[in-house]
Symmetry: C2
Subunit: 460 residues, 2 copies
């Protein structure tokens, strides 16, 4: 016998996990489509050169790459994608002439990273990305916020907060305390750790006194580091951070930071006009999303009360998506929903409805009756949009009903020889075990529809 | 610059391909769910041993396997799955105790084969499988036919034919002409090629006179080979092949073949009772689906008039799904829809509606107006379920409208400074270029809904 285990760091997704997952993906697809985003798909396998080209991925990610070889193929030529951004860049570079811009795409798919396996961390996981490529318009920035809000609201998340910043604000402030561009980018990467290592940790790192593996260059003296941190932390406390910021010294002396404030304000106002509730948004002048890749607005989303799960949807604006593959400059903005993280969070919070079936009705296969009756009943119910499963084997009714309650069917339709003779059926509520008896066949659809409507009402 | 091409034998799927594809997958998911099938997902990467275990795949498929290695991993340990059946068998073997039987699962996902690239043949393609595992009931066999019929009908295929057989009929007939079991299985594999190599070719092969690479053993003399072929070919001409078959010599002397006829007749009757139109079904006593894996009913589906594309949905009943991984005997029945083949066929037949957007409305971003107006309009339309895209840049109106007609938006909503002042909007049909002017904002939702309803009516 061969051991039926999955490889290390991988996992099977059984129906109880897949059903809420598929429901959520359907919501995301519908949301993306509603905003005019269109789906694309790229192969799971890419040419190694495309994936590892200078700037395509962080060093850490490249160390985790899965190589792919077929018999007769040359080792080292192919690999599994580690995200959906590099494939998007390659796709756009290849197809931009036929597709035109602006190009709004979404992509949902597995990506692969050979990370050390750990609880809740897998070597294959799904990303849900959407991007608007080929425009510098702030309307696209605002719309990205709208999409995050719409997708997560429709996924039944009770309350979440989208943190927003414009990287040029932080950049301008750092130039205003006399850093050069390169040092400012380094300082931004340090400041981005504020949530993780705290004020003290960031202060130390900015002065080159961080722990091993951290920024080692002294970027700012203590006084200037404190001023920058004050700006970030005080900004978070403001009712109107824009008005406040425009009166701060760091800002008044930096035209870049001022322009950043103006842009961010416009984006936020547009998002609110587009239907995002104001209290869902939080301005955070310290937010930077590590990577230098982002050049404008940046976002992170946490579920209120579940901050420890980290961001469930992040993204931002970039200047040039596909510079590795084309000389054409392609700015854009986008975000990525961490499906697996979101589902893990919702599961732990008890927000996922447990069920192992999507068909609310089980039609019993009565021992001694012809299965044709059950098949016809199920077929009639499906014709009016009610999912109906016929139990395949004519075993004891009790066992069939037990199967139904275990899987999460709500109702069972039962026709035994007596009911068959009288042209009627019995309808059993699999939760309460109450049974309505002797309902005429002609009333099948309406009776079942009413019973399901009542169950739905009772559930809300 | 890095060349943005995909690896050999792989491909990008642009929106024009993905939109009908996603629509079709949504139909399949809904159909499967409506019959009580539930989704599962297994990793794209499996342990090599699981994939290559004796009996897991045909030799040809195993030659085409893609090996996967990460840095620090041992070469030869992991590979990409080449179908969804082997992963299902492994999954069931591992999880059957917690899941219970009958277990009805569907799975949709990419599989990988390093085939020589050729027109219309790719190294990554999608399979859509559904199976009922853990039952020998003919109700599950009949239901498999119902699902094939429902899925393809709802995918808007005009007319297709599901060919059906019970392998034991052919097996019994071959025993009746004095073959032993092993020779009968070989003969079945030869007979299965009838469609491809014709009667003459099959006759030769059965006599051991086939071309190179074919069956070389002489299995039957010419007279007996002719009798078997007569049975198969005459059976196809019968109005009631069951009644006819029960009077054929080969059948009357074989209890196995008789039982096969009875079973097949029951399955067909049940499928018809379950709503499958009789003229969609075709009994074909020669159909065998090559692989010895199948042991009972087998199916193949061709689209009428497009037979040269081959079967778009095939499957059958098997005795023992997971014998490589568990001693528990797990019989079942299932089928697989060839999504890529089906879409290629529909594309060639002109049955796919060409569009590059799923949002019917484009909201123009009027130069000189605040984008807030466009964002609010789109937001209101989405709230009533109408997909609406806002053009991100305030460029010349003509260019925005051109973008809309190119992408397949149906209507454009236009609000310039005059309309803004008067609280009205203009609604432009992007196909006819007709424009309704000066509609009050309050009538936005109803006007757009009515216009879209009219367009849908006109299209049917």
């Amino acid at each position: 016998m061969i051991d039926p285990r999955v490889a290390s760091g991988l996992r099977d997704l059984p129906p109880a996990v897949m059903i809420p997952r598929e429901r959520m993906l359907a919501v995301f697809r519908q949301t993306f489509a509603g905003f005019g985003f269109v789906p694309i798909e790229t192969p799971h396998i890419e040419r190694m050169e495309v994936l590892t080209g200078k700037g395509a991925g962080s060093e850490e990610v490249l160390r985790q790459i899965f190589e792919v070889t077929n018999k007769g193929g040359t080792p080292g030529e192919l690999a599994l994608r580690f995200d959906l951004t590099v494939p998007l860049a390659r796709f756009i570079a290849k197809h931009v002439d036929e597709l035109g811009v602006p190009f709004k795409r979404y992509a949902i798919g597995s990506v692969f990273r050979g990370e050390r396996p750990a609880k809740g961390r897998f070597r294959e996981f799904v990303q849900c990305d959407f991007d608007t490529v080929g425009t510098t318009s702030h309307v696209a920035d605002a719309e990205t916020i709208q999409v995050i809000h719409a997708a997560l609201s429709q996924a039944q998340l009770p309350k979440f907060t989208i943190a927003i910043n414009e990287r040029s604000i932080l950049h301008g402030v750092l130039l205003a305390v006399d850093l050069d561009n390169e040092a400012a980018l380094r300082a931004i990467r340090v400041l981005d750790k504020l949530g993780k290592i705290g004020r003290e940790g960031v202060l130390n790192e900015l002065q080159g006194k961080g722990r091993e593996g951290a920024e080692s260059q002294a970027l700012l003296d203590e006084a200037r580091a404190q001023r920058v941190l004050d700006f970030v932390e005080e900004g978070r406390q403001q009712d109107d951070p824009f008005v406040w910021a425009l009166h701060q010294d760091h800002i008044t002396i930096s035209s870049e930071a001022q322009a950043g404030i103006t842009a961010l304000r416009q984006i936020v106002e547009d998002a609110i006009d587009g239907g995002v509730p104001k209290d869902t948004l939080k301005i955070d002048f310290g937010l930077a999303r590590g990577l230098d890749y982002y050049t404008g607005v940046v976002f992170e989303t946490v579920v209120d009360g579940w901050e420890r799960f980290g961001s469930v949807c992040s993204g931002g604006r970039y200047d040039n998506l596909a510079s590795l593959y084309t000389s054409r400059k392609l700015p854009g903005v986008g975000a990525s929903i961490g499906l697996d993280r979101l589902l893990a969070l919702m599961d732990e919070a008890g927000w996922l409805k447990g069920t192992s079936t999507m068909a609310p009705v089980l039609v019993v296969n009565f021992p001694g009756s012809m299965p044709a009756i059950a098949l016809k009943i199920a077929s009639r119910l499906r014709a009016v949009g009610i999912g109906s499963e016929v139990y395949p084997d004519a075993i004891a009714i009790g066992k069939q009903l037990g199967y139904g309650s275990n899987r999460g069917h709500r109702l069972a339709v039962i026709v035994g020889p007596d009911e068959e003779r009288d042209g009627v059926f019995n309808l059993r509520n699999l939760t309460t075990r109450q049974e309505q008896k002797g309902i005429p066949w002609a009333d099948l659809e309406t009776t079942v529809q009413e019973a399901l409507a009542k169950l739905r009402e009772a559930a809300t």
